[in-house]
Amino acid sequence: MKTILKLTRYGAMNAVRSRWILGYTAFFFLTTEGLMRFGSDSGRTVVSLLNIVLLLIPLVSIVIGTMTVYMNRDFTELLLSQPIERGSLFAGQYLGLALPLVAAFVLGVGVPLLARAGEDGANIGVIVMLLATGKVLTLIFTALAMVVATRFDDRAFGLGAALLLWLMAAVVYDGLMLAMIWLLRDYPLEMPVLAMSIFNPIDLARTLVMLKFDVAALMGYTGAVFEKFFGTALGMSLAASALVFWLCLPFWAGKIVFEKKDF
C-alpha cells in the first residue's frame, strides 16, 4: 500500500508537470468560464458542460491514458526490475495517471462553477452530481486505457482499440438503444430503457445529472419512473454499484493482464 502511494505520488508529480494536463485543465477552466460568462443562465451552462463532460472526459481519459502507458513503457520496465509487487506497480501507475486527470477536471470545471454557485442561485445538486460523475468517468476510462495499453503491445492497434471502446460507449450503445426504442415503440419501455441506461457508464452519468436537473418532468411517465427509481435508496445504490462495477472490472482485468505479462 505504501508503495502504491509512493508510485502514485511520483506519477502524479510527473503528470502535473506535463503540458497536456495543463492544457486539459486550462481547456475546462476556459470553457466553463466562457459558458458562465457568456451563457444566458446557469442551467444552460450546466447542460453545455454536461455535453462536454460526457463526451470529452471518456475520450481524453482513454486516449491520454493509453498513450501515457505506451510512453512510459520503458520506465515501467525499469520499475519492474525494482523490488515491487506487480499488483502494486499497476495500482500505483493507474492512480498516478487517473488522479491528475480527476484533479484537472475538478479544478477546471469545479472551481469556476462553485465560485458562482452561491451568487446565481444555481442548483448545487446538479453541480455536485456533475462533478461526481465526471470524476467517476475519468477513473473508469483511465482504467479501460490501462487494460487496452497493457493488453496490446502494438501502439497503433491499442490506440485504435481505445477509440473504438470510447465510440462504443459514447455513440454505438446509444444507437442500439435508440434502435430498440424505435422498433418497440408501441410497448412500454421504461424498465428496459432504465436497465440499459444503467449498464453504460456514460448513459448512467447523463441520466443521474439530468434527473438532478429536473429534466425528468419533460420525460412524463418515463421521467416519473426514472425519478422514482433513482430516488430510492435501492435505485441509488444500484446506480452507484454499476459505476463501481465499471470501475473495478477494467481495473481488475488490467491488473490480471499486467501481472501475467512478459515485458
Binding site: 511520483y10 520503458d74 520506465f75 525499469l78 519492474l80 526490475s81 525494482q82 523490488p83 512478459d262
Partner: protein, 253 residues
C-alpha cells in the same frame, strides 16, 4: 550468485529460451553474447522477473524466485534504453527509486554522480538531458544501492569514449568487490576487456559457456570478435550438416 535451471520460454510458436542451465558466479563478469533474436534480452529479463519462464527455475541464493519481487532488492538493472518519467528531475528520479526500494541509506549516489559528471544536471527535467547523460542516470540508479547482482544491458551504448572508459573502471571495481555482473554488449573489444566468462547463445541454447581465454584457445583466433565470428560460422555449418543428415535419413527411410 544466480543460477538458471532448465529455463524454457516460448513466445507463441517461437522458442526463445530452450532449456537453459546457467550459473553466474560472484566476483565475476559474465558477458551474454549472441546474434539478434538469440535470447539475450529474454534471458536478462527472465532473471529480472520481467519475463515469466514457461518452465524452469531462477535460483537466487539457492531459492527459486520466479514470481516473487523481494529478491530484486539485491539486483541493480541498467536497461539499454534510458527513458523515464520525463518531467521529473534526475534528483527526483533517484529519490523515487530510493523510496520504492525502501533503502534510504544508499550513499553512493553522490560519488557516482561526481564520477559521471552528473551533478550539474541533477535538477534539470529528464527530458532536457542528452541520451548519454540519461544513460549515466541509469547507471547511478543501478549502482547506488550496491546490490550484489548487476544486470547491464549494453551499458556503454550512447556514452562518449571518456565516460565509457571511466564507466568500465567502475564495473571492474564492482567485480573486484565480489559482485555478480551480467552484461550484454555489441562491442567485442569491451567484452574482451571486461568479461571473465562468456555465454554464447544461439536460438535459445547455450553454444558456449566458459572463460574468454578458453574461447580464444578453442577457436584458435586472436581476438574475441574473430572467435565469435568463427563460432557463428561453425554452428551454422553444423546446422546445415544436421539438416543434411536429416534429409539423408528421411530419404533413406
Amino acid at each position: 550468485m544466480i543460477e538458471l535451471r532448465n529455463i524454457t520460454k516460448r513466445f507463441g510458436a517461437h522458442t526463445v529460451l530452450n532449456g537453459l542451465n546457467l550459473r553466474f558466479d560472484a566476483g565475476s563478469i559474465t558477458a551474454v553474447l549472441g546474434p539478434n533474436g538469440s535470447g539475450k534480452t529474454t534471458l536478462m529479463k527472465t532473471i529480472l522477473g520481467l519475463v515469466r519462464p514457461d518452465k524452469g527455475e531462477v535460483l537466487f541464493a539457492g531459492e527459486n524466485v520466479v514470481g516473487t519481487s523481494e529478491y530484486r532488492k539485491g539486483v541493480g538493472y541498467m536497461p539499454q534504453i534510458a527513458r523515464f518519467q520525463d518531467n521529473l528531475t534526475a534528483r527526483e528520479l533517484v529519490q523515487m527509486i530510493r523510496d520504492v526500494r525502501e533503502n534510504p541509506s544508499a550513499t553512493r549516489e553522490d560519488e557516482l554522480c561526481e564520477r559521471f559528471h552528473l551533478t550539474e544536471h541533477l535538477d534539470k527535467p529528464l527530458h532536457t538531458l542528452s541520451g548519454g547523460t540519461r544513460q549515466k542516470v541509469n547507471a547511478v540508479l543501478a549502482f547506488m544501492f550496491q546490490p550484489p547482482i548487476l544486470m547491464l544491458d549494453e551499458p556503454t551504448a550512447g556514452l562518449d569514449p571518456i565516460s565509457a572508459s571511466s564507466f568500465k573502471d567502475v564495473i571492474l571495481s564492482e567485480r573486484n568487490e565480489g559482485r555478480t555482473i551480467v552484461l550484454t554488449s555489441h562491442i567485442m573489444s569491451e567484452v574482451q576487456e571486461l568479461a571473465d566468462t562468456i555465454v554464447f547463445l544461439l536460438e535459445g541454447r547455450v553454444v558456449f559457456h566458459g572463460a574468454a581465454t578458453e574461447l580464444l584457445g578453442r577457436t584458435g583466433e586472436k581476438t574475441l570478435e574473430r572467435a565469435i565470428a568463427r563460432l557463428l560460422q561453425e554452428s551454422s555449418s553444423q546446422r546445415e550438416n544436421t539438416m543434411r543428415d536429416n534429409v539423408i535419413q528421411e530419404t533413406a527411410q
